[in-house]
């Protein structure tokens, strides 16, 4: 773990934001429950964990075990019903919705299983979107978009619409969009779930590269243990909203 951070910091290229050292995400008995009529669904049930800056963590577990819910809590898209969740030591549970939006804008980059590109925008416009929302100066945007798109090797496809791209290309475009505002934490919810295994591996390699060269903290949800073991440094397994195991790759 220490080794990974040192290496990441040493390799931070000029121009990129240096990854913050120390703790990226910390949860303290965080819980998210849903009231479904009579029954209470504990999607995340008092999870306590700490993720160091620069880590590459895989969240494993069967379907419905609460992985996505935990990831959404980290992203600030959802609020815990109890407990605390810190991103760089700021408690998301106590933030105003305005501040949560800022957290999503500046600290978090996120990719989904369904790439979620806006279909009527070109690749370039899709990637530019977070910069618009963050009110980045216009003249700075072009360079930032180019940088992010080049990092995912899509420099030649700037003017293409999502439908003109393959699944792998779409997920790479989504990755560029997640990176463009230089977040410190990258969250990915089953990013390879819609891709064949070769294309999925390409995405995993890109994530590793981003983690190593930019020192970006990555939390990735997956249910494919072998793939998680190949690329992640730490595997957290969930079941029924609880963390049942936590450790390095076997």
């Amino acid at each position: 773990m220490e080794r990974a951070i040192t290496r990441a910091n040493a390799m931070t290229p000029p121009g990129a934001e240096p990854a913050k050292t120390g703790i990226a995400i910390r949860t303290d008995r965080v819980a998210r429950q849903y009231q479904m009529g009579e029954t209470m669904v504990r999607a995340v049930n008092e999870v306590t964990l700490t993720i160091r800056a620069g880590a590459f963590v895989a969240l494993l577990g069967s379907s419905g075990s609460g992985k996505s819910t935990l990831l959404n809590l980290m992203a600030g898209l959802d609020r815990p019903t109890s407990g605390a969740i810190f991103a760089h030591e700021r408690n998301l549970a106590e933030m105003s919705s305005e501040d949560l939006a800022k957290h999503r804008s500046h600290t978090i980059g996120i990719v989904f299983q369904a790439f979620n590109l806006l279909p009527r925008m070109t690749l370039e416009e899709n990637v530019e979107l977070p910069l618009r929302l963050a009110e980045v100066d216009r003249h700075e945007r072009t360079a930032r978009v180019r940088e992010a798109v080049e990092r995912v090797h899509l420099g030649a496809r700037l003017t293409h619409h999502p439908t003109e791209l393959s699944g792998g290309e779409q997920q790479r475009a989504a990755l560029a969009r997640a990176l463009v505002n230089r977040p410190t934490i990258l969250l990915a919810d089953e990013p390879t779930g819609n891709l064949d295994s070769a294309t999925g591996d390409q995405i995993m390699l890109l994530l590793s590269e981003i983690n190593e060269t930019l020192g970006m903290t990555i939390v990735m949800v997956t249910h494919e243990r072998p793939r998680a073991e190949r690329f992640a440094h730490r595997l957290i397994t969930m079941s029924d909203g609880k963390m049942i195991s936590d450790g390095g790759p076997a």
């Binding site: 959404n72 898209l77 959802d78 939006a101 989904f112 979620n116 977070p130 618009r132 009110e135």
Partner: protein, 446 residues
């Protein structure tokens, strides 16, 4: 999000559902057009009415009669409390006093008397009336044939068209001709011997003649109907009428009263410098114990009538806009359903609730703005069509053309502003609903 980016995204969204948004915008445009058409008709008719009325010279005039001599015009409430004792005489002194009041331009009597005229050897009975020089601007003389009196004391006459038709089958040929006016002059009888106050003993009526040249023929009876007076059919300069010392209707009363030496008027007309002074002068006259009446009260009522009229036109016009605003709500709520995932993505990428709300507001406002501009244009065209239709009708009846529709700039500006405001109001519900959308729900992958 910065305004420019917001506008760009909103513009993009509007173009994406171009048919639906165009139809919604068209709905607003029709609403605004109906509002503009209604209001411009109201304003146009009001302009027309006030213009005609102010040119009639009725609104800067005050009609004065001796107290209690004007029962038709004073509501009982206005006359109370009724002072007892003899009414102040409306005589030359009173006239001078009135003329010296501030902002009084002119005080002139209503001089009217029955007479007999001779033209071409034939006698005609008619009523002669004195016309003040200021009446020239009254509008009644605007469409006259010939010309107004050359001077205040000219021995000239203007014929009312009905009289002219009586005199000749070709009224126009009368211009420049002479008529002879026969009238009765009052002459004071010498006082009886030994009478201390040496007041005349009464009047004798002496028949006289006066030659008048016809200078004009007028269609309408000028200032007819004010206070119930018709003005007569043979119009002569007021000064001429006064010097004729004609037998007036109030002579009998003068005789019955104890002061026959003092010639008194049946009524006086006061012209004021501008309608704003009418109230003050009217009050001053009332303090002098005369009955005063002006059409200002009537004109105030007229403005109220028009305000109510405009209000109703506005309400009916706005109804279409209200319906159009339902269209906006419908369109935007549909857009939320369609753009659920997109809103979720925007939030995941850092959009605040406020950004989403503003995005929907900008879309609603843009439809309102476009609809407003287009609607004003459409409303103006409808107005032109109304004007055109009316004038075609008028010309066919050989009447002068008029403009009954007016679209002033304030109406253009406020119609567009109103359209935007209504659209924004319609956007409140969809915008806040979109802003409150839960991104986790919106992004859930099935």
């Amino acid at each position: 999000m910065k305004t420019r980016d917001l506008a760009e995204l909103a513009g993009r969204n509007l173009r994406e559902a171009v048919l639906r948004n165009s139809l919604t915008t068209l709905g607003i445009a029709v609403g605004v057009a109906s509002l503009v058409a209604m209001l411009s008709l109201g304003v146009g008719l009001q302009n027309l009415a006030t213009d005609r009325l102010s040119r009639s010279g009725l609104f800067d005039a005050i009609f004065v009669t001796p107290r209690s001599n004007f029962p038709g015009f004073d509501a009982p409430a206005r006359q109370a409390p009724v002072p007892t004792g003899p009414a102040a005489p409306l005589d030359e002194d009173a006239r001078k006093k009135m003329a010296s009041l501030p902002n009084v331009a002119e005080v002139y009597p209503e001089i009217r008397f029955p007479t007999e005229i001779h033209y071409d050897g034939n006698p005609y009975a008619t009523v002669v009336a004195g016309v003040s020089p200021s009446a020239r601007s009254d509008g009644a003389f605007d469409d006259m044939k010939g010309s107004f009196f050359s001077g205040p004391a000219a021995n000239e006459a203007i014929l009312q068209i009905d009289l002219a038709r009586q005199l000749s089958t070709q009224p126009d040929s009368l211009l420049g001709k002479e008529i002879v006016l026969r009238y009765a002059e009052r002459q004071a009888l010498p006082p009886e011997r030994g009478d201390k106050n040496s007041s005349p003993n009464g009047y004798s009526i002496v028949p006289r003649e006066e030659k008048l040249r016809i200078v004009g023929i007028v269609e309408t009876e000028p200032a007819a109907g004010i206070g119930g007076f018709g003005r007569g059919r043979l119009l002569i300069p007021l000064q001429v009428a006064e010097t004729l010392r004609a037998a007036q209707t109030n002579d009998l009363r003068d005789l019955l009263r104890d002061t026959p030496s003092q010639h008194s008027y049946e009524s006086l007309t006061i012209r004021v410098n501008g309608t704003s002074h009418v109230k003050d002068v009217e009050d001053a006259i009332k303090k002098m114990d005369f009955t005063a009446f002006s059409l200002l009260d009537a004109s105030r009522n007229l403005s109220i009538v028009f305000a109510v009229f405009d209000l109703f036109l506005g309400i009916f016009g706005s109804l279409a806009l209200v319906v159009a605003s339902l269209g906006i709500i419908n369109t935007l709520v549909m857009a939320i359903l369609e753009r659920r995932r997109e809103i979720g993505v925007l939030k995941a990428l850092g959009a605040a609730d406020r950004d989403i709300r503003r995005l929907f507001f900008v879309e609603a406002g843009a439809m309102g703005l476009l609809g407003g501009i287009f609607g004003v244009l459409l409303g103006w065209l409808i107005g032109r069509a109304i004007d055109f239709g009316t004038n075609t009708y008028l010309t066919r009846r050989a009447l002068p053309s008029i403009s009954i529709v007016a679209v002033p700039w304030w109406m253009v500006a406020s119609a567009i502003a109103f359209s935007v405001a209504v659209s924004l109001a319609a956007g409140i519900y969809p915008a806040s609903r979109a802003a409150k959308l839960d991104p986790v729900e919106a992004l859930r992958y099935e």
